[in-house]
Structure formats: C-alpha cells, structure tokens
C-alpha cells in the first residue's frame, strides 16, 4: 500500500478504516474457514473409514488401518491448528493471549478426559463393543457441541451456535441410531457441521 499522506476526505477516511481493519483482523486471527474445513474433513473421512472397517459393518478394510489413518489425520490437524494459531498470535502480548491459551487447552483437556473416561469404562466394566462404540460417538459430539457453543458465545456468532446445537442433537441421536450407523452420524452430522461452518466463514471472508 502506498505511503501517500495526502489529505483524506471523510468518505476516504472511513473506507480506509474499514479496509485496514479487515486486513488486520484477517492477519491477527487464524482463518476459521481453514480450521473448520480441516477438522470437518478429518472427522468426515476418519469416521467414515471407521464405519467401513468396524466389525458388524461393511468390513471393507481392516480396523487397524482405519485407526492408523484416522489417528494420523487427527495428529496432522492438531499440529496445523497449533501452527496456524501461533502464526496469527505472533508478536502479540497481553490478556487476549491468556484467554486464547485457556480456550485452546479447554479443547485438549476435554478430549483427554473423555478418552480416559471411555477407556475406563471399557477396561473397568468390560462393557460390550456396542456400548464402547456408542460412548465414542456420543461423547466427542457432546464435548464438541458444548465447546462450539461456548466459542460462539465468545465470538457472538449465531451460525456457530446453531452448529453447536446441531452437534448436541447429533450426540443424542447417535446413541438411539445404534451401532454401526452411529459412526455415520458422527462422520456426516459432526464433520458436516464443521464443513458447513467452514463454508460460512469462507463466504464471510470473501465479502469482508
């Protein structure tokens, strides 16, 4: 942009304020379209593979293969999310950094606790594969739904809140659908909600 310091008309000033603001906001916050798009894809592909591999389902590929691919996609998404967020927050210090870090850790700790609880049920109570499967679909959808709603409250985003409510409905529905179709609820309702949000944010970024 030119460093021209000529006098500005009020209309030019207002236009400059909004264009500069949009540019700064884009650079300071990680792309929501990218983050939701990436996680939506991981979720959709990963759980669909799990469905295709699960015993009692179509069994089109070995369960270990689906598990390895899904785990790799999750690790990749975690790494990329961390990099993208760190890049956006480069050179910024102050209270918003703390709130961002606390928010990020809430997701991580929430999923760690959920994992521990689900493994605990399997190991301590020896629950059936069916119950295990239902635990692993309803739990993540519930945690994701609640945290998405919390993020929506913070960002004052109604579309994000609606996606959160949808995830809660999907969490409840997945249990009633039963196995192995619950994995498809997780893939399409869960991944679909995130991909829908990605589209929403991509469209918003284009008009900004």
């Amino acid at each position: 942009m030119a460093e021209d310091d000529g006098p500005l008309s009020p209309a030019e000033s207002l236009a400059l304020i909004s264009s500069q603001r949009a540019r700064v906001d884009r650079s300071l916050s990680p792309s929501q379209a990218l983050l939701f798009g990436m996680w939506g894809t991981t979720w959709l592909v990963g759980w669909t593979l799990m469905f295709l591999a699960t015993p009692g389902g179509p069994e089109l590929l070995p369960l270990w293969l689906a598990g390895v691919v899904f785990a790799a996609a999750i690790i990749g998404s975690v790494v990329l999310s961390t990099v993208v967020s760190a890049r956006a927050g480069r050179g910024i210090a102050g209270p918003s950094r703390l709130s961002g870090a606390l928010y990020g850790w809430t997701w991580t700790l929430g999923f760690w606790a959920l994992g521990a609880i689900n493994v605990g049920f399997t190991v301590k109570l020896g629950v059936s594969i069916e119950v295990t499967s239902l635990l692993w679909t309803s739990g993540p959808l519930l945690v994701m739904g609640l945290l998405t709603m919390l993020g929506a409250a913070q960002r004052r985003s109604i579309p994000e809140y609606v996606a959160g409510v949808w995830l809660l409905l999907a969490a409840s529905a997945s249990v009633y659908v039963g196995t192995p179709a619950n994995l498809l609820v997780l893939a399409f309702a869960g991944g679909g909600a995130m991909l829908g949000l990605a589209t929403h944010y991509a469209r918003q970024a284009k008009t900004a």
Partner: protein, 99 residues
C-alpha cells in the same frame, strides 16, 4: 458541541497514522504488539513507522515499551485509553460529517 462540522483530530487524520491507529485499535484493550509485527501488518518501512509512532506517542495516544526477552530487545506498542477514545471520537466525527 457547537453548530457546524466537528473538527477532525489532526494527529489521526493523516493516511499513515490513521492506518497505524486502526491496526492498534483492532487489538483487544490491554494487548500489545511488537514493532516488527506491527510493521508487517501495515507494510511500512521501520523509519516511516517510527516517525508516525513518535507523533502518536507525543499526543499520548500510543505507549511504547522497550523490554528484553532472553537478552533480545523487544519493543511493544499499544494504544492508550486516550488514544482509543480519540480514535472513537474521530470515527464518530467522520460519520457525522457524512450524514
């Protein structure tokens, strides 16, 4: 306020300083940004940015803190409460002129 058009703050009403102010105002209140990151956001030369920051600092709109992180000097810039208010007044005055 007297009748007629409001005055525009001359400290902010200059293209480069307006851009600096907008970038700083985009940060949540209380947050600070390093000089190089600000420079990157604005795509300005270091000399140019320093000159404009000094004028904003003289007006009390910007606070510049020099500190060290692992022995490397770091310069942080933030908009003061006075600066934030001045920017709000400036934006309000612009809107008033256009209505």
């Amino acid at each position: 306020m007297t009748a007629g058009l409001p005055e525009l703050d001359p400290v902010i009403h200059a293209q480069a300083r307006l851009r600096v102010t907008v970038a700083l105002a985009a940060l949540p209140s209380g947050d600070r940004i390093t000089f190089p990151r600000l420079q990157e956001l604005l795509d300005m030369t270091a000399g140019n940015l320093s000159t404009h920051l000094r004028k904003l600092e003289d007006a009390g709109y910007v606070e510049i803190t020099k500190t060290h992180q692992r022995r490397t000097p770091v310069t942080y810039v933030e908009l003061t409460t006075k600066g934030r208010r001045a920017f709000e007044d400036y934006s309000a005055a612009l809107k008033e002129m256009l209505t």
